[in-house]
Amino acid sequence: MPDPVLQVEDLCVSFTSGGVTADVVRDLSVSLDGGRTLAVVGESGSGKTITGRAIMRLLPRGASARGRIVVAGREMLSADERELRRARGSDVAMVFQDSMSALSPYLDIGAHIAQAVRLHDPSVTRRAARARAVEMLDRVGIPEPADAVRRFPHEFSGGMRQRAVIAMALVNRPALLIADEPTTALDVTVQAQILALLRELQQEYGMAMLLISHDFGVVGSAADDVLVLYAGRQAEYGSLRDIFDQPAHPYTAGLRAATPRLDARLDTGGERTRLRAIPGAPTSLRDAGPGCAFAPRCGLADQVGERCVVEAPLPTVRPTSEGGGLHLAACHLDRLPALKEVAR
């Protein structure tokens, strides 16, 4: 079996400000094979974006990462600037939520893509790089690509801009694509197109994809495996089927129950149903005590007792469905009681 494209071992990310150091991500371990999509799900303060940035080594000032990150065989945390430049783009590339801020308003679309080509291979001529840009725009479904390369970001719609950003990210055929809320700013019909495009390109290139999202709908239509983060720690990891069919962490089950669905099976004959909300608000690791960060919001913490408050649970192996692969959850409860999907 080939090595995974992405390996993260015991990743901790901490911020230092005013002489105080606080972890925002703690003890994160995960691996991802080529051709597969791992969705990282979480809310404010969960550390999902920071984790993506740590893999790219694009952490903001004052942040530092410990542990081990290997992308396509390259140690990212010990790499120097030269190595990083080589890694970014050809080993790992990133697509962000806001396509407008990912593009320079002063450069035409072609220049963005050509620049990405020539940064990685200076021997490519300007003309050839420009031709690659046209090819790539065509590949991501932008009509009249020869004309589109000369256009500027503001002349594109949000969906077309996101396609251009994807072209820029994928032009060097990275082994891993990190997509941080790539469709959150888009209308649903455009979102569906962009997700389909990402899936298609992923299969064609055999690349691994880390899809960062807050939306279980997006996750359900795009992911193979799911990592649920809460307050900077791994709450649950498993195949999409296990996460949806037999969640083992109360937070995962709660998030699902709080997600509205359009599904016609929820038809109630005119009677209104309600979502079941999780009380309280998401926290960050900084505000969490020694116990489980989710305990203050958890309806099941009473069943376990004091242990939830004093001891942070470690991920342990949980039952899987047929061919489900690894399923981990960090909860003191061995088994979740059956939850009704929609509470009244």
Partner: protein
């Protein structure tokens, strides 16, 4: 049956293009001859893609945007004919909740000042006990009165925004994407809060959202907008079970489900 709390008849809004480029002197027709009504005690969901005109339509319902043509009646009164005093009364009756509470609340005012200003604007005085009771009725306790917006979470702030809307006991609340800026686990809390207000206090809602699944669960009736027009309207169960217009169908089909593929 009493008259609807909100009735819009053949309402249009044309924005003039600022620079005169592109769309030219004719401007941009954001809302094109729309008629809709909200019954008393009803929650009407308004869905559509960005640019379909749903926010403009919502803002015309309470006089924040003046229609180019057509009439808007709230509580049976044509708002174009209202005096200044009449408009002020209208705004007691029709309150608004916006998408981003951090942007819609004054960062330099405490929660107490924000709420007090609502009463003051309408020539009323209020006591600390009343303000505390108002806040508690939607969640946050009295200790939030002294806080500034940056000192509260997004969910608690949106509750403050709801408290502000409730302060003068409105008959209709216009909620423009009230939960789009919130975390998933908190979104359900706010949606349930709004549903409680409808059920327990009989407040009517015009709920604008791009999220069909939210609208499906929390609206009695739905109106679908596309390019400034309402293309389909009906009871929410029906609309989502068998969407008729191609635009509605496209929206329903594109909405990703938190479901395993069958």
């Amino acid at each position: 049956m009493s008259e609807p709390i909100l009735e819009m008849t053949d309402v249009s809004k044309r924005y003039r293009a600022a620079g005169g480029f592109g769309r030219g002197r004719k401007g941009f027709l954001a809302v094109d001859g729309v008629s809709l009504h909200v019954e008393r005690g009803e929650a009407l969901g308004l869905v559509g893609e960005s640019g379909s005109g749903k926010s403009t339509l919502a803002r015309m319902a309470n006089g924040l945007v003046v229609p180019t043509s057509g009439t808007v009646r709230t509580d049976g009164q044509d708002i174009a004919r209202l005096s200044r005093r009449g408009l002020r009364r209208l705004r007691r009756n029709v309150a608004m909740v916006f998408q981003d509470p951090l942007a819609s609340l004054n960062p330099r005012q405490t929660v107490r000042q924000t709420l007090e200003n609502v009463f003051r604007a309408h020539g009323e005085t209020t006591s600390t006990a009343e303000l505390a009771a108002l806040l508690e009725s939607v969640g946050p306790g009295a200790d939030y009165l002294g806080r500034y917006p940056h000192e509260a979470s997004g969910g608690q702030l949106q509750r403050v925004a709801v408290a502000r809307a409730l302060a003068l006991k409105p008959a209709l609340i216009i909620a423009d994407e009230p939960t789009s800026a919130l975390d998933v686990s908190v979104r359900a809390q706010i949606l349930n809060l709004l549903a409680d207000l409808q059920r327990d206090q009989g407040i009517s809602f015009l709920h604008v959202s791009h999220d069909l699944a939210v609208i499906r669960l929390y609206s009695d009736r739905v109106a679908v907008m596309q390019r400034g027009r309402i293309v389909e309207t009906g009871p929410s169960d029906e609309i989502f079970r068998s969407p008729q217009h191609p635009c509605t169908r496209a929206l329903v089909e594109a909405t990703p489900e938190a479901e395993l593929p069958a």
